[in-house]
Symmetry: C2
Subunit: 316 residues, 2 copies
């Protein structure tokens, strides 16, 4: 698949940071930045721009806050064409903390939102746009929110915002190809002046497959992470996506090197990937939080009981 | 997806046996047989019916030969509606060793073949059919053999054989959704009286996604293995397939139990799954043998060098 419009965004540090409270050290982040830059990937997302008034900097690492100074340290001395992105959540950022783009090492700010918060999210995205950033809106938990409200939200985004892309975020790893196809087509039918993005989760080993499906139907902004790192089941593996895309600007080798040297040992210390309780929550379309709690308990391998606990929650 | 015609075949013991020379002990095989039977899966494949004149029974375990007596020991005392399948390779079976179906615990014999051996394979499948077995033809290495020869082979199968299904076997884990779709449509356009089967490999984490793609376009015979076990990257995970199919005859819980109790510890001793050299050979459309050799060497994590060794084999 070679379509020059396609942009790949690596969110290794941002989504991987959800496993370790964003506590990656600067050397590791710089190694990732260097490999992403050498591989020709378009964007690298380093974390969240959360307010230090809401989250403790003792509890969370640098990449929960993504202060410009820290990002400058990562960029320093590395030749790169990769643009830097950060993510913000509705209600968790102090807008006054965000300098104009011209004074910041950040190129893109992505606002993560649920359908129900779309008004606030559009307001925020417009605020960042006015400060000179590229912006996106990333609609989470989409497998739950596929009704009319989503259609309305997309119409509102098309009319009121200046984002370059609107993402389908399969937070629960519950989408299959047919649901992915329907969503991409609906997005494209409404968003005439904006690109469609896709962020897959890998609960059912469909992160990559659904990303291909999204590409087939016209999505051009694609998220992935090195070796699929990310909370719970993780994400679409960047190495597979780069192997699939035929654009000659990409080079898979720096990513392979980094997996050899950093990610194989890291996986021994941090858990993500194809793990049955996450597969079960994907099959059920549930948030992974119950599965994450299970993995921290002494029942971590008790899959049948976990499955039954999710199926027997009668709603009288 | 609920289509009553869909049949699921578990090949855990057969394909998993490619990792350990078919040396699973009877207790393990019986545990798998019991779980598959309880889960409502339609078929269970236990191994190869290879000739003992060609392979040493000191080097290989029982499931390389699948003698009727050994299969009887597995079935004994277990309530089951699952039919038993065995696989044969062209040229590796002594046809005289195969008793009539009425005297055997085996229900189905699947003949694995390359396109080039289709004449021999049809002859063998017809031989088993005449002995009373259900039969299939499983066309291997299909990502390499997608040209006119495949079309001709399918026409010949339609005309000359009595198989219930003809499989697409993605031996190299190289298919994507679009190639899967094209193959299923081609098979269906030629095979008017036979079902289409799909056997995916998981090199690029597409075993399950491609199986869904095959289902969407009309494949009704689907292979999978528990926890994706199988040579190299392994196969479509049975638990995901059963979680996807909505036929109420299936029960995922016995499979989850078995993964907890047997497959999590087994994975510590045997290697399969998403491993970068297998992903690379899938991306390149190569047989996994070079990657398997790498994994047994002291360069097992040297991915860049391996990648370069596959790309730099100039054919002058």
């Amino acid at each position: 698949m070679y379509r020059p419009e396609i942009k790949v965004l690596d969110c290794t540090i941002r989504d991987g940071g959800l496993i370790n409270n964003h506590n990656f050290d600067h050397k590791f982040v710089k190694d990732v930045y260097r490999a992403i830059s050498a591989s020709g990937v378009d964007y690298i997302e380093l974390g969240y721009k959360n307010s230090k008034e809401l989250f403790s900097s003792e509890e969370y690492g640098y990449w929960k806050f993504c202060e410009d100074d820290e990002i400058e340290k990562i960029k320093e001395g590395v030749e790169s064409n990769a643009k830097v992105a950060v993510m913000v959540d509705v209600g968790r950022v102090n807008l006054d903390d965000v300098k104009p783009a011209s004074e910041s090492p950040v190129d893109m700010i992505r606002t993560a939102t649920y359908v129900k918060d779309i008004d606030k999210a559009i307001f925020m995205a417009n605020h960042f746009y006015e400060k000179g950033y590229e912006t996106t809106l990333n609609i989470m938990a989409i497998s739950r929110d596929r009704g009319l409200e989503l259609t309305d939200a997309l119409k509102q985004i098309e009319k009121e915002s200046h984002v370059v892309a609107v993402y389908i975020v399969d937070s629960f790893g519950a989408l299959y190809q047919e649901t992915t196809e329907e969503l991409v087509k609906r997005y494209k039918s409404i968003l005439r002046n904006k690109e469609v993005g896709f962020h897959g989760h890998n609960n059912q080993q469909l992160g990559f497959g659904n990303t291909i499906e999204a590409i087939i139907h016209g999505a051009n902004y694609l998220d992935a992470t090195i070796y699929g790192i990310g909370r719970a089941a993780g994400n679409c593996p960047l190495e597979l996506l780069v192997g699939f895309l035929k654009n000659p600007k990409f080079d898979i080798r720096p990513i392979l090197d980094l997996i050899s040297k950093e990610f194989i040992p890291l996986r021994e210390k941090m858990e993500w990937g194809y793990i049955i309780p996450y597969a079960i929550s994907g099959i059920m379309g549930e948030h992974p939080r119950a599965a994450m709690a299970l993995r921290k308990s002494d029942k971590k391998e008790n899959y049948r009981e976990f499955y039954e606990s999710l199926t027997n929650t009668g709603l009288d």
